[in-house]
């Protein structure tokens, strides 16, 4: 395959992967896939295969999959540097994600962007944002396009708890409320912004409350429970599509790893991680589907093997040619 055919194939594959999420089993598999890809990324980093930074979303997979499963490919999503889960859920392939982070031409941005800048225009993923808060107003703008053009499309902005302390968050909520934009603000409250526990930076506990200042519904959601995420999203999506305006969804969740690759997360109280592991989104969902531990293991095995293969394909792809540096300015 030429690089171009390869790329076209990946786009088609992204769309197909997205459509798969209508099935519960596939949603489970996608969560497993995210976990597998991130495990792979961590070891590639550890082995010095890839450089820069990386921000794992392990523990938060239900949110990514729940969002992707409740919106369409013509809806737009803005997300942060912690975007592996979102990209994979929306449909971007493991090869395109790993390829990007390895700086290969097969990557979803052809190796120009890197770990913090995934993108999947065909499945609605705008280039992910490495500046905290920057994705909020951009999502509102995407929602404005939909509202203006009279389509029923919506936009979703995904950010962390720490990002609710930055000005752009408030300005966007206000604007979205005044203009009744079809946009959903998803706050992944994983209790930490980098190495700081939320209590050290934020004087309230439930961030959903911050919607009140803008006469906007703010909903607290169990982010470890895929069904709860989907229910909350579905309600917010219908509200948005019906022209009733924006919603803020606070997803209570946890990241299992540190903030970025070097971080051992020693600042976490002992036992906290273990407690959250008891409510692992993959296990919870598998059980709710009546899937046995053995079957779950088998699924993990299969998916891990697929991710291994995808990684090989990604790493076999060349680095981008120097002309690419100048072509997309």
């Amino acid at each position: 395959m030429t690089d171009q055919t390869q790329k076209d194939f990946l786009v088609e594959e992204s769309l197909r992967r997205r459509s798969e999420l209508s099935s519960p089993e596939n949603r489970l598999d996608r969560m497993i896939e995210i976990r597998a890809v991130e495990g792979k990324l961590q070891s590639l980093f550890n082995d010095g295969f890839i450089r820069g930074s990386t921000h794992l979303s392990n523990g938060q997979e239900a949110i990514s999959v729940g969002i992707a499963a409740t919106i369409t490919t013509s809806d737009w999503v803005t997300c942060t540097y912690r975007g592996h889960g979102t990209a994979l859920s929306l449909g971007v392939t493991p090869t395109a994600v790993v390829g990007e982070i390895a700086g290969r031409v097969i990557g979803c941005v052809g190796g120009l962007g890197g770990s913090m800048h995934l993108c999947g225009v065909e499945v609605g993923l705008l280039p992910t944002f490495a500046i905290v808060g920057a994705g909020y107003p951009v999502a509102a703008g995407a929602a404005l396009t939909a509202q203006y053009q009279g389509t029923s499309d919506i936009a979703v902005a995904i950010c962390g708890d720490g990002a609710t302390n930055i000005g752009a968050f408030y300005e966007t909520l206000n604007l979205a409320s005044i203009w009744k934009l079809p946009v959903i603000f998803v706050v992944e409250n994983n209790l930490y912004g980098e190495y700081s526990r939320i209590q050290l930076t934020t004087p309230i506990e439930d961030l959903a409350q911050r919607a009140d200042s803008f006469a906007m519904p703010g909903v607290i959601v169990d982010g470890q429970d895929l069904d709860a995420v989907m229910d909350a999203m579905t309600a917010a999506v219908s509200r948005a599509r019906a022209g009733e305006g924006p919603t803020l969804l606070e997803m209570k969740t946890y990241r299992y790893s540190g903030h970025s690759r070097a971080d051992q997360a020693n600042y976490r109280p002992a036992g906290e991680l273990d407690e959250w592991l008891l409510r692992d989104p993959i296990n919870l969902y598998a059980h709710s589907l009546g899937i046995s531990d053995a079957e779950l293991e088998e699924r993990r095995r299969v998916i891990n093997a697929e991710v291994d293969m995808a990684t090989e394909v990604a790493l076999a792809s060349p680095e981008p040619p120097i002309a690419d540096l100048f072509e997309f300015v």
């Binding site: 107003p137 951009v138 509102a140 703008g141 997309f328």
Partner: protein
């Protein structure tokens, strides 16, 4: 050809683009109901409706960012920043986000966004409402910046900006909004970005100016005693290298008149490039006439000295031509400041 004030030319450019392209929308503080603080959007809400001409809350990051998102997904927003200083609370969205979208999507997305802002000194608005601030935008790949000098360029550059596929900033010198001039409307009136214009041909010295300095530079040489070639740069980023180099290769002397500080002013880039390309061919060093390195003062007597006027420009050009050297700025001559 109608005779329009510059602010009216802006209105016409916006109206013509709103008319010809249904994806064009306008946003900004008090631009719709109130017609804009400088009346540069007057009547547009009445003509095109509140869906297309939108008032915003005081949230520059919010609405500039929303314009970025809208531009990336199918619209062509034109944002008014009432005073260019206000982008100091929202620069991220323009330079770090909008200008990176094409790159970060490997060409799948682009951001056809226009930011209009009033700018410049001369009206007693004080040091937080009187700067040009083009330096905030230099060195950002993917960004263009133009500065009209009269109603025609205000019309033509703005239309070109709105049609451009990437982010463009137009700095509208506030003190020119009331100036009148004949304006060619329609396609013929559109002025391509990146192209300067020779307003007066001459053979002894090239004078390059931008924005309101064009008017003052023109006045400085209008008696014809110096055979100066006057170039209105029109677009600063990217500036018209070919035109300037061609002109200076003939005149072998260059004076740049900037509403920009001596240190870090935009003329340094042109001076550097001309000195490099025409090394050994210049009769005199490139000379810059600039603002002093101070905040913009309020008192009328100070502000009028702060901003180069025709008289100062004339005497500087005279000294340049006579001495063959780049004369010192007035504040050094008067012992007021070193830089």
């Amino acid at each position: 050809m109608p005779k329009l004030r510059m602010r009216e030319a802006v209105i016409r450019a916006l109206a013509d683009e709103l008319e010809s392209d249904p994806t064009v929308i306008l946003m900004g503080e008090d631009i719709a109901e109130a017609g804009g603080p400088f009346k540069a959007t007057e009547g547009l809400k009445e003509q095109f409706g509140a869906r297309r001409v939108r008032d915003t809350p005081i949230s520059e990051m919010g609405f500039l960012g929303a314009a970025v998102g809208a531009a990336a997904t199918g619209l062509r927003p034109v944002v008014e920043m009432m005073f260019i200083e206000f982008i100091g609370v929202a620069l991220d969205q323009l330079t770090t986000e909008a200008c990176k979208f094409r790159f970060l999507s490997r060409g799948k997305l682009n951001v056809p966004l226009t930011v209009r802002a009033s700018a410049g000194a001369g009206l007693g608005f004080g040091c937080q409402h009187s700067q040009m601030l083009d330096q905030w935008f230099r060195g950002t790949s993917g960004l263009k910046l133009a500065v009209p000098s009269d109603p025609q360029t205000a019309y033509g550059l703005l239309r070109a900006a709105i049609r451009d596929e990437d982010p463009v900033i137009i700095l509208e010198t506030r003190s020119l909004y009331g100036d009148r001039g004949e304006v060619t409307l329609g396609e013929a009136g559109i002025i391509p970005l990146g192209k300067g214009s020779i307003l007066r041909s001459g053979s002894d010295v090239t004078v390059v100016a931008l924005g309101q300095m064009v008017k003052h530079a023109a006045a400085a040489i209008q008696d014809g005693q110096i055979d100066a070639e006057l170039i209105d740069l029109r677009t600063l980023i990217p500036w018209d290298r070919e035109l300037v180099l061609e002109s200076v290769s003939r005149t072998r002397r260059l004076v740049i008149v900037e509403e920009s500080p001596y240190s870090g002013g935009w003329g340094t880039e042109i001076a550097a490039e001309v000195s490099r390309e025409l090394f050994g061919q210049l009769l005199s060093p490139v000379h810059r006439i600039t603002l002093p390195d101070t905040p913009v003062p309020y008192a009328a007597s100070l502000e009028s000295r702060y901003l180069p006027n025709a008289e100062v420009i004339r005497s500087q050009i005279d000294a340049y031509m006579t001495s063959g050297l780049s004369p010192e700025p007035w504040w050094r001559l008067e012992g007021l400041a070193r830089a």
